[in-house]
């Protein structure tokens, strides 16, 4: 049982990680039913949450601050008690089990490493509290230190560590207990961008190798897209949508999810005739239109077509973040602004054709004949208005 970590660490084949021998270390499922939580009289943190998390899933709770995601995580950890509702972990009802009797460990946002202990003693703390013998503790700490590649950090004092190092120690301290479920409360939010993407990859590696159920809390949609098997988007104490990243991104169920996933191109549909919608952008022909009253145009479905441009324009180029896109199937967006030459500018002149055929797309913004409140879209003169390729179904207003 305790060897599972080493076996997985040495085996490069992720499939081996799922085929674990010890049944007690099988990844656990999580089931939430009708969870309510209120702070004081007026603050509703959770307003009835039902959720099922599969064993071995990298599951992300995504939402703006105050949406209830952290409260939900704390209820899973047992640090907060729900007012109503049930919670099952691995098929066992743990609604009233105190945190120190749950096989759940947390990586805290502030890392919460004990200042009075060395790194080694921090790692061993959970094992010591469980009453493991010294030899067993030392062996497991050594194994996790190797697995997370802590190197000589293990003999440092906590106040000698940098933010990234603390983060990894906090992760190791939670993992060494081999919990059924690992909870991560915005563990990367305090780190700079470079370290952050490095640790994102590291976290995914750990999760895939151990096959452990991870519940990850973040307010960063890009992070959620890159990391998760499935995402639950929360707002106002309610789950708005649950699904794989691509689904949530491409088919948001309402305007909140659409905006939160980075789409600001929402337009009211004023009239419709079959597949033809009247919007502030003009009349658009679309496929697979839904029933809603909002039109969402995802930026990557737009192409700028060749033609004459009537004035100075500013282009915003959006592309898949290359490093993460190569490693992950999910999409991450970044943008830069570049100035285009006035008058003669055409799509062909600005960008070589090959670029427009690559997975890169670009979307222009400037003052243009068609301006809406939400955003502006440059439509080169003398070309068809907008080439909207397979696009997201129109949305219900919310």
């Amino acid at each position: 049982m305790s060897d599972s970590l080493t076996a997985d660490a040495k085996d490069e084949n992720p499939a081996a990680a799922t085929g674990r021998s010890a049944p007690s270390r099988e990844a656990s499922s999580i089931a939430l039913q009708g969870l309510h939580k209120r702070f004081g009289r007026d603050t509703v943190a959770l307003a009835g949450v039902d959720l099922a998390i599969e064993p071995g899933e990298f599951f992300t709770l995504l939402g703006p601050s105050g949406c209830g995601k952290t409260t939900l995580l704390r209820i899973l950890a047992g640090l907060e008690e729900a007012d109503r509702g049930r919670l099952q972990i691995g098929g066992r009802d743990v609604t009233e089990v105190p945190p120190h009797r749950r096989s759940v460990n947390t990586v805290f946002q502030s890392y919460a490493l004990f200042p009075h202990l060395s790194v080694r003693d921090n790692l061993a703390f959970g094992l010591k509290m469980q009453g493991l013998a010294v030899a067993e503790r030392e062996a497991r700490v050594a194994r996790i230190a190797e697995f997370i590649q802590l190197g000589d950090l293990i003999d440092r004092r906590v106040d000698q560590l940098s933010g990234g190092q603390r983060q990894r120690i906090a992760l190791a301290r939670a993992l060494v207990c081999e919990p059924d479920v690992l909870l991560l409360d915005e563990p990367l939010s305090a780190l700079d961008a470079g370290l952050r993407s490095q640790l994102q990859v590291e976290l995914l590696r750990v999760q895939k190798r151990l096959g452990m159920t991870f519940v990850f809390v973040t307010h960063d949609q890009q992070e959620a897209m890159v990391m998760s098997d499935r995402i639950a988007v929360l707002n106002g104490g309610l789950i708005q949508q649950v699904g794989p990243p691509r689904d949530v991104y491409e088919r948001p169920v309402n305007a909140f999810v659409a905006r939160f996933m980075g789409h600001d191109n929402l337009y009211p549909v004023t009239a419709r005739d079959g597949d033809t919608l009247t919007t502030p952008l003009g009349q658009l022909h679309v496929e697979q239109a839904g029933d809603g009253a909002l039109l969402l145009i995802r930026p990557e479905t737009l192409d700028l077509l060749p033609g004459d441009v009537g004035g100075p324009i500013t282009c915003r180029l959006a592309w898949s973040s290359a490093s993460t896109a190569a490693a992950m199937p999910n999409i991450a967006w970044r943008s830069v602004t570049s100035r285009c030459r006035p008058r003669s500018a055409t799509a062909d002149a600005i960008f070589p054709r090959s670029m427009s055929e690559s997975p890169w797309r670009w979307r222009p913004t400037t003052s243009s004949p068609w301006q809406s409140e939400e955003g502006t879209w440059l439509i080169p003169t003398g070309s068809p208005p907008l080439a909207v390729r397979p696009w997201c179904a129109s949305l219900a207003t919310c």
Binding site: P98, F108, Q109, A112, L113, H116
Partner: protein, 265 residues
């Protein structure tokens, strides 16, 4: 006034302050080594007053009383104050206004008022029940009472300075309430407990007023002994006692300072 002369004036005040603070102490220390029997002139170096001190039963018993009182009261105050400090931290989000004022009141209350009321209280209890005869016992109770707020305050501020997530991390890492206290809270506040002990100890050794009102005939401490002896005039022997007390308090204060500097985070 020009900038320069202002600076000079301030420097002058600084040295003057130091002078008033430490010169009297230095004089007492110096005259404790005086060979002569008078406080008027220093005639030569001698340890005779210290030797005499060692032979004085009264002083030795006063010294023993002071130590017993200081150590026992500090330990008891540490125990109680530590719980109060934790309680204040634990319930800091509730409105504890009056309770906090009640706990802190002894810090600002004039010693003499406190001493007199303690005395009256102990006398009444003694008359009614026969318990609490004035003596070391009553002094310990009185000292504990005024030490508690200091201990509670130090422990509380240590807890407040901690990341609240640490308490949750301990729970999360399988520590039961008893194990949390033993393996997390106690080690974490240990530096605070040590400084609180030193502070209580010095407060107790220092105290005259409250001790004076609550003492019994057999339980004179050093300050009370000095007070009694001084009525017959300041003898060099008193200087020697004062110098020893000074040295003891200075050592404890420096130890406490060094310790608090070394504490991590």
């Amino acid at each position: 006034m020009s900038r320069r002369s202002l600076r000079r004036t301030l420097t002058g005040i600084w040295w003057l302050t130091l002078l008033f603070l430490y010169l009297p102490l230095a004089v007492v220390a110096l005259f404790s080594f005086n060979a002569a029997n008078s406080a008027a002139s220093f005639t030569g170096f001698s340890l005779r007053w210290y030797e005499r001190l060692m032979g004085n039963e009264e002083i030795l018993s006063a010294f023993a009383n002071s130590m017993i009182l200081a150590i026992v009261s500090s330990v008891v105050a540490l125990g109680i104050g530590c719980f109060i400090g934790y309680g204040m931290y634990r319930h800091r989000h509730r409105k504890l206004g009056w309770l906090i004022v009640l706990i802190y009141l002894p810090i600002v209350l004039p010693d003499i008022v406190f001493g007199i009321s303690e005395m009256a209280f102990f006398v009444q209890i003694h008359r009614l029940t026969g318990f609490l005869q004035p003596g070391l016992g009553t002094m310990i109770i009185a000292h504990v009472t005024f030490q508690i707020p200091f201990v509670a305050l130090i422990v509380y501020s240590r807890f407040v300075g901690l990341d609240p997530a640490l308490f949750e991390a301990a729970k999360d890492l399988y520590a039961s309430p008893a194990k949390r206290a033993l393996h997390f809270m106690l080690p974490t506040i240990k530096p605070a407990l040590i400084s609180a002990f030193f502070l209580s100890f010095t407060l107790s050794v220092d105290d005259f007023v409250i001790s004076f009102f609550t003492a019994g005939p057999e339980s004179a401490t050093l300050p009370i002994y000095i007070w009694g002896a001084i009525k017959k005039g300041v003898s060099p022997e008193i200087n020697a006692v004062a110098t020893l007390m000074l040295a003891a308090v200075a050592i404890v204060a420096i130890a406490s300072l060094l310790f608090s500097r070394r504490r991590p985070v």
